[in-house]
Symmetry: C2
DNA sequence: TTAATTGCAAAGGTTTTGCCGCCGC
DNA sequence: GCGGCGGCAAAACCTTTGCAATTAA
């Protein structure tokens, strides 16, 4: 278990301005060592094997903290609550990371020619391009320093 | 309010095998007449102006029903609960619509050259290509008829 | 020492479920 | 008339929050 596996987890946390605790180390390592994109609950179950006293609330707080400092990313969901669209034809979306406004991007040729790399056995039903960023209103506020 | 606005909502519902009720008409029209990608709560508030007796539960049930028969799409979230990733470098994902497995698609050139159409004022921080479909396991089950 | 972090439990918010009366077909 | 649907309320979740005790720096 030594050698190349011995990533400097402590250093990584410190580099992101985070205090180092056993809980944080365990949570980050659990996420780092899987490619499963786990949920908070899954990480909690994993970490609990080594630290049975950890609480689910701490896992949530910690993941949120990690995400805020850019140590990890939240893959899904893009919005807090479910959002619906009467347009069923495949098209693309731009989502504001701040106000969660969703804007259609109707250019149908966008994404043409994009396909999974050879060898992937995933059966694709549809693909869409997702833009994340600031809507015009939130971008203006951001630039002017308004929170 | 007559004329081109007079889309045959009743026919659309029937074509999808749905019974026609005033609630369903109101919900579908509310969604059809906006580009805001509203939440269930937002639709509820909208429909309530005309049908104050409608319940939020009905809105949820109805939207779920609409989605199941392909009348509308659920834009977000892709997964029921939040999912995290230790990989922060921008990359792409394939999400299984059935078991919600998330698979990385690391091809970094994928999506190169994709940009918002001219004239969009959205400030893009990142873009990702999202593949939705069946993972190998669920695809095998689907083909063999196992539910 | 001091501010941040943890665990616990309660609260908050979203979505689902159960049940019964009602309505579309 | 029958099966599906709507309203209501409770329940089930997921996630956040408040607080006292503990810990990192």
């Amino acid at each position: 278990m030594e050698g190349p596996n011995e990533k400097d987890f402590i250093g990584v946390l410190r580099d992101h301005g985070l205090q180092v605790t056993y809980q944080r180390l365990a949570i980050y390592q659990a996420l780092y060592n899987t490619q499963q994109h786990p949920s908070a609950e899954t990480i909690y179950q994993q970490v609990r094997k080594r630290f049975p006293m950890i609480s689910l609330g701490t896992v949530y707080k910690t993941l949120e903290r990690f995400h805020n400092v850019g140590l990890i990313q939240k893959v899904s969901p893009m919005t807090d609550v479910s959002r619906y669209d009467a347009v069923v034809e495949p098209h693309h979306h731009a989502v504001c990371v701040k106000c969660q406004m969703i804007q259609d991007v109707m250019d149908p040729s966008l994404g043409d020619g994009i396909a999974l790399p050879e060898g992937e056995s995933f059966h694709v039903l549809r693909k869409q391009v997702l833009f994340q960023g600031y809507c015009p209103e939130c971008y203006a506020k951001e630039k002017s320093g308004t929170p």
